[in-house]
């Protein structure tokens, strides 16, 4: 669970959709320690607060990680201007990550991503081999679709939905999710995305009684648990807790999350 804070060289930068950037960063120590679902906390020059960005892929042999983020404001805009060869100042890896399980050979897991919640699901999908993963990815429209080929590359059977039907299925990720759950082969659900999507996934998982983990987002300061800024409400054993998204999460058991 160790983390590092350093400047790591950028190996590759590309804009994979308008305003959405993919970076590959050479950081062997981080890659070795990282788990799917963890995040990195990046310093943007001129800004007080770092930007938490989930890890998209981990390549331990090459000693690299990949992150994918959307430009949402001046800070992420600044980050997106960093070119290959420059360095990225990161605290990483942070948070707990998804629980990867041994599952029976006839079972599968479902990874669900919505919008910019899609990237961390790629690394999660990659943890399972032998076509054990069904991926359901939701986007606003065709222009926002990212990483579909990457999910196929890691062996995930991938369904894409868009809100407006301009690509893949029209509608919410819950439709393909339910379709898949009805087949009765699902051992586990993993999800990351906007709150309404998470709520729908959590409810669906409850109905089908399938273990589910979700990754939460919250405005964050330190990223390491010190400032207690990124609070979330968690209910365990009938008791309410205020926990830290950065250190106690960002991944929580679906049944414990109070959204």
């Amino acid at each position: 669970m160790a983390f590092f804070c350093d400047e790591f060289p950028i190996v590759e930068r590309s804009e994979i959709a308008s305003g959405i950037f993919s970076y590959v960063i050479h950081c062997p120590s981080v890659a070795l320690a990282a788990k799917a679902g963890q995040f990195v906390h990046i310093r943007a020059e001129g800004y007080t607060l770092r930007r938490p960005i989930s890890i998209c892929e981990i390549n331990r042999e090459k000693g690299t990680i990949r992150i994918v983020f959307e430009v949402r404001g001046n800070g992420t805009d600044k980050l997106s201007q960093l070119e290959a060869g420059k360095k990225m100042d990161m605290i990483a890896p942070l948070g707990n990550g998804f629980t990867i399980k041994e599952i029976p050979s006839d079972k599968t897991v479902i990874v669900i991503g919505g919008g910019i919640g899609v990237p961390p699901m790629l690394g999660t999908a990659a943890e399972y081999t032998d076509n054990k993963v069904k991926a359901v990815l939701g986007f606003r429209n065709k222009d926002r679709v990212i990483l579909e080929e990457d999910f196929k590359r890691v062996g995930a059977e991938t369904a894409v939905c868009t809100d407006d039907g301009s690509y893949g299925e029209k509608g919410l990720v819950t439709f393909p999710l339910i379709e898949e759950l009805e087949r009765g082969k699902t051992a586990m659900i993993y999800a990351c995305g906007p709150t309404p999507m998470l709520k729908a996934v959590i409810n669906t998982a409850r109905v089908y009684n399938i273990p589910c983990e979700v990754s939460l987002e919250q405005r964050m300061a330190c990223g390491v648990g010190a400032c207690v800024g990124c609070a979330c409400n968690i209910r365990k054993g009938g008791r309410d807790f205020v926990l830290r998204v950065c250190k106690d999460g960002p991944v929580f058991k679906a049944e414990e999350v109070v959204l």
Partner: protein
């Protein structure tokens, strides 16, 4: 480390003048992957109340130009958990351990400090100025009477070195400082956060669920420096300066203004190594200026 960077505040020796500010360093466990706690001169622990508190709802964090807002609101495990669950490890890992105590009533302060008095905590910092909790201290800290009352109450029940943390959100911080000094505070720390706000123009809602929050970071440094200078010139007790300190040069400015030690907070979020960089910078400054003690520069600014 060829130079001795130690300073003495209210009789307590700090191996160096850099203290992690309350609320920014938890209970000293969160940065140990990067460097041991004993690199810092001291740590002022997360604001602790008599009973555990859940704090304010999220979002609790917003960014501002060269600064940030927080509305954490004193989420903490309570004084008993602090004493039994955190203090022993803190004493083992760190240098000067400062408990930061907040309360809604005078009796809250009294009871919490009473329990601390028999521990081996090194110093008690009274938070009479948390801007995020209606009765979490701000109401005490903005009047001379309120600030004096808390100080007096606590002074009566402890012999521990007592540091009172002042809010900048007042017309005359010097009067408050003097009132606190008169009631037996051993030293003062300032400034706590200013009170700020940000609005999300898309949703037309304040970014913080608490609407307003404590404003900190490099942005506030000039206000902090001015207040430290005013207060240090008006009281006889030691002053610990904080508010936006990011670099060794900032720390030196603050010490020249009259601070015997400094606290760092928001800068740690931007760069977790910033306290160590400040310590290194102070040592380099001592070497370049041939100082035997950093106390030689405290309060040396010469006004025009």
């Amino acid at each position: 480390m060829s130079k001795d960077l130690s300073v003495t505040v209210a009789g307590v020796r700090f191996p160096n003048p850099v203290i992690a500010a309350s609320g920014t360093y938890g209970f000293g466990q969160d940065y140990t992957d990067l460097y041991p706690l004993n690199k810092l001169g001291g740590i002022s622990c997360k604001g602790t109340t008599l009973e555990p508190r859940n704090g304010n709802p999220a979002p609790r964090i917003a960014e501002t130009p060269a600064g940030m807002l927080n509305s954490v609101g004193l989420q903490n495990p309570g004084i008993d958990m602090f004493i039994t669950g955190y203090l022993p490890q803190l004493k083992k890992d760190g240098n000067v351990i400062i408990a930061n105590i907040a309360g809604a009533t005078l009796d809250d302060y009294k009871q919490a400090v009473e329990r601390l008095d028999s521990t081996d905590v090194d110093m008690i910092e009274l938070n009479i100025s948390c801007p995020n909790v209606k009765q979490g201290g701000a109401s005490w800290g903005v009047t001379c009477d309120g600030a004096a009352a808390v100080t007096k109450t606590v002074r009566a029940v402890t012999k521990k070195p007592l540091m009172v943390k002042l809010t900048p959100n007042v017309t005359n911080i010097v009067d408050i400082a003097k009132a606190v000094e008169a009631e037996g505070a051993d030293c003062l720390s300032l400034i706590n956060t200013l009170l700020g706000m940000r609005i999300d123009i898309r949703t037309r809602r304040p970014i913080l669920k608490n609407n307003v929050g404590g404003f900190s970071g490099p942005a506030v440094f000039p206000v902090a420096l001015r207040m430290v200078w005013q207060v240090a010139n008006a009281v006889d007790i030691d002053v610990v300066g904080m508010g936006g300190i990011t670099t060794a040069a900032d720390a030196i400015e603050m010490m020249m203004a009259g601070a015997k030690a400094i606290q760092m907070g928001t800068a740690i979020f931007t760069d977790p190594y910033s306290p160590l960089k400040v310590i290194d910078g102070l040592e380099k400054y001592m070497e370049e200026n041939d100082l035997n003690s950093l106390e030689e520069i405290v309060g040396t600014v010469q006004p025009w």
